[in-house]
Assembly symmetry: C2
Homo-oligomer: 294 residues x 2
């Protein structure tokens, strides 16, 4: 009995002694630490290569998200293209027509919006990282979005990490409408933080955007329009029949599972790593996504 | 005469008042601030899509670079492939055969090398950045390579920035030979610093690697070998006829031009930027390359 008991317990005791990997922490997570995407704030970008799923952030950019919802509802991007792919930076899509008068009409979307570069931090649940950051006084996550915060000014803003969706603009801060959008496909260009309105992030399918051939122009625009990647459609998930929706869940960034998985990445304790970093950068923190169980 | 003089000088005066952009600084740089690549430390990876130019770093990984030179000279990678592409992380190439005994022979390259994760900082010209970094006590550049340094231990190491070339290894620190190599194609995985031997960096043609379709396996390996990207050849530039060499020059990272261009990026003063970041991350610093004049 004793021998059997000892044998049965030994693996558990070993298990307890060995720190869990991020994957083991995720595998053991309770369902309550995950949340489904809100269909009213989810965009599907349909490409020949498949679907890119985007979560919008009305808590940071309500006016832009309002416009993007209207544009998606009215099929603004359908038949347009990804017309820019700059290596280690962004892909950009919308209507590249030079002359504003010749561009596809915005329909019921507003032609002019305020800049939404930052907002009051009050009212946001901000899960701060303990890690130092060179770009912002504090960094962390708000509802799954990587974000910066400044206690002195009381403001918060979304950070330009890999997969961030931003609203292209001209010289004036308030010249974006949400019709021209870009997704970060390279090393996080955090110098853009607070200089442009971030409207969401890619949750799934970023690998369909990151492999798009780069344009030869220094900024990644294509010389030949035939090189552009056609957009079949961009739709709000709420306007797609439920049977055609992606059933995705994202890990809550305010959950103990997220904190534990991030710590397991900050200090890798597996046998492969010889020197744990003792640090993680905001844009290196994985944001887990999974298929929902039926 | 006065009026003419004033008119002629006015643009110069304006010019002096307006801070120069990084591009303007580069355009005005003296030739002495640039250097040609050393053909003995330059690799050409020939793909169907074109040439990737890699600079090796014998000052950091002399034994690995010695092996890589031997492997290139003997055509080790010719006919092998890029067999892994993991989104926002790396592409990896070499011989993916599971059984070591069945792998392509290493020829005159050594079968066992020491780990070369770091080296004494003494003897390196380290151009430090003033910017805070969460991963290393100090960061900067050594001969064009992004690097970290620890004054307490007196060591320095190459950093995993976009384009870094590293030597894949198994569990043991000293299990890399340089035959299996990877290139960083995503957000800089600095947690790998000091955990693996970095051997160089891509200087030109990274956009041929970064667009390679991602493997479906979670680590980016391809299920079907037909999905792999064939490698036509990897050659040392010194073994390629001069007429077939790429004529590239890189900006010296110990030059005043590099310091000024980096400062112009740290604090963007052009009209588009509304909030200069006041910071730049090691892996966000551009490393300019140009075609040499004939």
């Amino acid at each position: 009995m004793f021998a059997t008991g000892a044998a049965a317990q030994a693996p558990d005791a070993d298990e307890a002694a060995k720190p869990k990997s991020a994957q083991e922490i995720l595998d053991a997570s309770p369902d309550a630490h995950w949340r489904a995407l809100d269909p009213a704030n989810t965009l599907y970008m349909e490409l020949d290569a498949g679907r890119v799923v985007i979560e919008l952030a009305p808590q940071f950019a309500p006016r832009h998200v309002g416009n993007i919802r209207a544009l998606a509802r009215e099929g603004f991007w359908d038949g347009l293209s990804i017309y820019r792919s700059q290596d280690n930076f962004v892909v950009q899509f919308g209507d590249p027509t030079e002359e504003e008068a010749d561009r596809k009409p915005l329909g019921s979307a507003e032609a002019h919006l305020p800049a939404e570069f930052e907002r009051p931090a009050a009212g946001l649940e901000f899960t701060a990282l303990p890690d130092a950051d060179g770009w912002a006084p504090q960094v962390g996550f708000v509802d799954g979005f990587p974000a910066g915060r400044d206690p002195d000014t009381g403001t918060a803003w979304m950070a330009h990490c890999y997969g961030a969706l931003g609203a292209g603009r001209d010289m004036a801060a308030d010249s974006s409408t949400g019709a021209e959008l870009y997704v970060v496909t390279g090393q996080s260009p955090r110098q853009l933080d607070r200089n442009i309105t971030v409207v969401g992030r890619v949750v799934d399918g970023i690998e369909l955007l990151s492999v798009i051939p780069r344009g030869r122009d220094p900024m990644g625009f294509y010389e030949d329009p035939a090189e552009r990647t056609p957009i079949k459609a961009i739709r709000l998930a709420s306007e797609v029949p439920p049977s055609e929706r992606s059933q995705l869940e994202v890990l809550r960034t305010d959950s103990p599972t997220f904190a534990a998985a991030t710590e397991a990445r900050r200090n890798r304790r597996d046998d492969w790593y010889k020197v744990p970093a003792g640090h993680i950068d905001l844009c290196n923190v994985p944001l887990p996504v999974r298929e929902a169980d039926d």
